[in-house]
Amino acid sequence: MPKIRVMPTLLFKDLGLVKGVAFDSWRRVGSAMQAVKVYNMREVDELVYLDITATSDGRPPDFETVDDLADECFMPLTVGGGVRTLEHVRRLLKVGADKVAVNTAAVEQPALIREIADRFGSQCVVVSIDARRRADGRYESYTHAGRQPVGKDPAVLANDAEAMGAGEILLTSIDRDGTLQGYDVELTRLVCDAVSIPVIASGGAGTYAHMADVLRDGRASAVAAASMYHFTEQTPLAAKQYLREAGFSVRL
């Protein structure tokens, strides 16, 4: 089996990196370059880089910034934010992204996923799904950085994405994001059970135990976290050491 992947997420807003809470109250954190370099030094399993205002600003992905960062990134890099055309994907792959994450466009133009998969291969298409728990206990998916409800269950959306050729799902719980209160394990399990492609759990990690929970009970293949790592007391490496002790198969 491939090892469980532990990956940091970098969120880029306007001019620099940010951390948020429930996709709101964004707080500026350090420079993207130094974050990439530190993670590179630490040999993390993968890095996820998301430009969270590209779609709402109506602009394409920032190829120059990705190019600069990718130059310092000697580990797998997934880039998302504002990806809407095949050309965007081609350029991102060219400047150094290994996988491209598609969120809003996956809902607005589902055929795009098929196009990207056919042209570049499923393995480089990550469909990013953001979801909130509804009052009735079920889940709603959102696009536009959590602002527009799709009217579809995330498990259904994930299943559709797989059918269109997506290679991986990046699943984020909007409610939990930035709260350090733990992943939404139930949401993760629902989506993992609905697809046969890998699912990366995201949103809410605060402790290593949270990661173990979502891997064990949520059945995720990988765990992403952002806020947890911005306070350097906790690191991806220590997370993996914890997970290994807990019986998971990780790369150390």
């Binding site: 306007d14 001019l15 620099g16 707080r27 500026r28 954190v29 350090g30 420079s31 993207a32 370059m33 130094q34 974050a35 370099k37 530190v38 030094m41 630490r42 600003d57 120059e64 910034t65 600069d68 310092e72 790592y229 911005h230 306070f231 350097t232 007391e233 690191t235």
Partner: protein
């Protein structure tokens, strides 16, 4: 190209980490400063005296507190104020990277105020390697110094069994960090890692690089939670108990023999701070490259908030002095500094470009940074449109 937004009261840009600009366009640092008006400083002074009394040695056989100092204006103020309050402090200096002669004179002057003083100088050969690593890995040549500034006094406190550490200002308060931190008056390990300017890097990350081993990094190693608990180490920020002002600290210090520089320090606006480390010019420059503001901005904001400088004048001064390429700092040419960390000027400039957030500066049609004859960059905007 999205413009940089600035606070409408001071001149701090939104790009500063941990700064927040509210709906009225006012930044969190200005808001924090506003709140000072509501503080009962008498009560705070009273609280401070109560804490000091609690920690004062009962039999005079050990020091009453550790005071982390550098020899600068704040160090002078802190130390003298504690002496005035009847404390017997142990001053602790973590020696800076590249001590200037004026810095040395000021340290000696601080000792003359009448205190026992420990200078902990780390292995300079190792330090140079760490300066170089930190510069290339996180774009901060002063990273090792920051670690020691926050670590060495705590180590001394543990080793000498002195529970109380009296720090100066809480940077998050003046510089506008999140509310939780601004009211923190104790520097815990968690605070250090979140706000101590460690940029996500840990000392352990350096082991194995350039031949560094744990045995070289003893002074950079923060004491364990167990050791801290055993001694009962607690720290507080003096800046919580008195209305902190760097300028009045400077006046106080000068009146006690503190020496200022002959002219405003390069890249800044004043001659009374950051006088002890020739590498500070590089440190400040990288702040500018990453976030679009340097020491001149910091200082201008401090003075604007206190009504000593009009905002329009501050904008002009910042434009003139902020973020200039640090060819010389405190009279030390940059060639000397980069040579001491085993680097060529070309390599240094490449690293500068690497860490520059291109979104903040003017670039040409090919996406390359536009530099003037002196190698200086130009921001896309220096004030709100």
């Amino acid at each position: 190209m999205r413009a940089i937004r600035y606070c409408v009261r001071c001149v701090m840009p939104e790009t500063k980490p941990d700064l927040f600009i509210d709906g009225d366009g006012v930044c969190s640092a200005c808001r924090n400063y506003e709140r000072r008006g509501a503080v009962d400083w008498d009560q705070r002074r009273h609280d401070l005296q109560a804490i000091l009394e609690r920690y004062r040695s009962k039999n005079g056989e050990s020091y009453d507190c550790v005071v982390p100092v550098s020899g600068g204006k704040d160090s002078h103020f802190q130390t003298i104020r504690l002496l005035e309050l009847g404390m017997n402090p142990l001053c602790v200096t973590a020696t800076t990277d590249h001590l200037s002669s004026i810095g040395r004179r000021n340290i000696e002057n601080l000792k003359k105020q009448g205190v026992d003083y420990i200078e902990v100088t780390t292995n300079p050969v190792v330090r140079r390697k760490m300066n170089r690593l930190a510069l290339t890995q996180v774009g901060d040549i002063s990273w090792p110094e920051h670690v020691t500034i926050f670590t060495i006094p705590v180590r001394v406190a543990v080793q000498f069994a002195i529970p109380l550490i009296v720090w100066g200002e809480n940077p998050q308060n003046e510089y506008g960090g999140p509310a939780g931190a601004a009211e923190d008056n104790v520097l815990t390990r968690r605070w250090l890692e979140e706000f101590g300017g460690l940029l996500g890097l840990r000392v352990s990350d350096l082991v194995g690089r350039e031949g560094l081993e744990p045995k070289h990094l003893i002074q950079y190693t923060y004491p364990s939670d167990e050791a801290l608990r055993r001694v009962g180490v607690t720290g507080l920020f003096l800046g919580y108990y008195v209305p902190w002002d760097g300028y009045s600290n400077a006046l106080y210090a000068q009146a006690h023999g503190f020496e200022t520089y002959s002219q405003p320090v390069e890249g800044a606006l004043v001659n009374y701070e950051n006088l002890d480390n020739a590498q500070t010019g590089i440190h400040d420059y990288f702040k500018f490259l990453k976030y679009g503001f340097g020491r001149a901005t910091d200082l201008a904001c401090l003075h604007v908030r206190r009504g000593r400088l009009a905002r329009a004048d501050a904008v002009k001064l910042v434009r003139m002095h902020d973020g200039k390429f640090p060819w010389v700092y405190l009279g030390t040419p940059i060639e000397e500094i980069v040579k001491s960390i085993d680097m060529t000027l070309d390599e240094f400039i490449r690293i500068c470009d690497r860490f520059t957030n291109k979104k903040l500066f003017e670039c040409d049609a090919r996406g390359n940074l536009v530099k003037d004859r002196g190698g200086n960059l130009t921001k896309i905007n220096y004030d709100n449109p």
